[in-house]
Symmetry: C2
Subunit: 305 residues, 2 copies
């Protein structure tokens, strides 16, 4: 381990903590730790100390920049939300500043919006990927764009000339995990084959215009009456839920709005296929690269003393 | 306890067993036991013996008639499905006959259908309530009718001249329980007030034509940003899910189709309000009374020797 001057940037979500050690422009090391929702009574500050301990043997970092659930009520310290419409300036000035054992720490603000239907919505962490995407792909700052960040709580973000206008959350990842692991819908067969065919069947069902709720039980009935496997049922439920997300999210978008997917490449490929089936041609950006770019953008924008 | 000759009829579902002791036309006692899905490794036959033990001290019943998951693969003995269209005759002849310690036992067949969209569907237990409803309310045997049996796996049953034509399952009760107990959507506030207002808001959202998936996260965002309670969020999710069930189930029904709700009176009252908001005027039948009538109908129809 080098003893050079270093900074730490990181994404602390509900399910995991990822910290990156920066020396100059280079990322020289990374560590992982438990998410904010996985601390089991451990104080967030102590969890962060535990994760940083190997690096601190050679000296403390100059500063730490965190995004995500680190700024939630249950996180390290509650950071505010920046209200939409918001660009980098509004977002970065609302970061929360504190110290950990004398080390300056900044926690990124989340974003909040009130949609056209009057409903509030929130994000913590995805905004860092969105602003990072704008740095990596400057063409996204021109005109009206839709950014989709699929995941546990997937976000569909409307950009106008590089500012976040509003967004909508689809908790598809959370719903799918509940259906897969906790429901009776997959518990008939014990054969895990057939997942890809199931995904295709579920997404076709979503495209048919049929409702989501009335499509769910088919995962179970097809095992009982049509010889389908548990693997098929899992794929079917995934295709059904993700297909409905794409359908609902694109429903009120002006025709021709360019769509960019930001996230895990494997998951984004599935959404790209669903969008393509619906007549769209999305661009793809790697979520980790966007998060990293957003954290550096925030670090650069903040007034470190 | 009387030592008179008696029979036992019962409904053995996933979550509970309910047995009724019959002497002549009268129900003189009842006992409860664990559902087929709650046996934790206990053999179903032993669970049934345990529940019957108090009555058997004075002698064995003449016979036992069971419906529901008693006939599932994980139940007492697998009973077949009768294929729709099916009336009482097709259903009763497919009952499974066996003996328990020398006592004749009949387990009601389930019903299976293939809907217009080519998808199979199944029920076990609700068919007994449907045929019981036809006995209690003979006008249901005239023309085209829709029977709704809300619950964990709610069934919407199309009757034509007293025969079950087809049906569709909406796993609304199971989905709602997962969202309420296992998701992050209700876990912000710790205040249980406001459930009725939440139900009204959720059902209004369902009526608005907005998708189900995009409506879910509002349960969480409204706690974070609009001062809503956990109680409100639970009510909202219930209204949203049940409202979507009614909307999807009625979507392709011919205008003017009479609807009858069969089930728990409190739950049916909620569905009646949702149907009424959508311009329908459903009749209501008590689910326990229909199950009992259906079990007696089956007992009468079977060839006991």
């Amino acid at each position: 381990m080098s003893s050079a001057a270093y900074r730490v940037v990181g994404d602390w979500g509900t399910s995991r903590l990822r910290l990156f050690r920066q020396e100059g422009e280079r990322t020289v090391d990374r560590v992982e730790g438990p998410g904010v929702g996985m601390l089991d009574g451990l104080a967030p500050a102590q969890a962060l100390r535990d994760a940083l301990a190997p690096w601190r043997r050679d000296g403390d970092p100059q500063r730490i920049v965190l995004c995500g659930m680190a700024g939630a009520r249950i996180g390290l310290a509650e950071a505010p939300y920046a209200d939409c419409p918001a660009g980098v300036a509004e977002w970065s000035t609302r970061a929360r500043h504190l110290e950990l054992d004398g080390i300056p720490v900044a926690i990124a603000a989340g974003l909040a919006c009130v949609r056209d239907d009057g409903c509030p919505d929130v994000m913590r962490g995805e905004e860092t990927q969105v602003f990072g995407a704008l740095r990596l792909a400057p063409e996204l700052a021109r005109g009206a764009r839709l950014l989709a960040l699929p995941g546990t709580h997937g976000k569909w973000v409307r950009l106008d000339d590089g500012r976040v206008q509003s967004f909508r959350t689809f908790p598809s990842g959370e719903l799918y995990a509940l259906l897969r692991d906790r429901s009776t819908l997959t518990r008939v067969s014990e054969d895990d084959a057939g997942e890809d065919e199931g995904f295709a069947d579920g997404s076709a069902r979503a495209r048919s215009g049929d409702g989501l709720l009335g499509g769910l039980f088919h995962a179970r009935a097809a095992q009982l009456r049509a010889g389908r496997t548990r693997g098929w049922a899992r794929g079917y439920l995934s295709g059904l839920v993700l297909g409905h997300e794409v359908r609902e999210a694109m429903h009120d978008q002006p025709a021709g709005t360019p769509v960019t997917l930001v996230g895990d490449p494997g998951l984004c490929a599935r959404y790209a296929a669903l969008l393509s089936d619906a007549g769209h041609a999305p661009a793809l950006l790697d979520g980790d690269a966007c998060a990293s770019a957003g954290l550096h953008l925030l670090e650069d924008a903040l007034p470190w003393t």
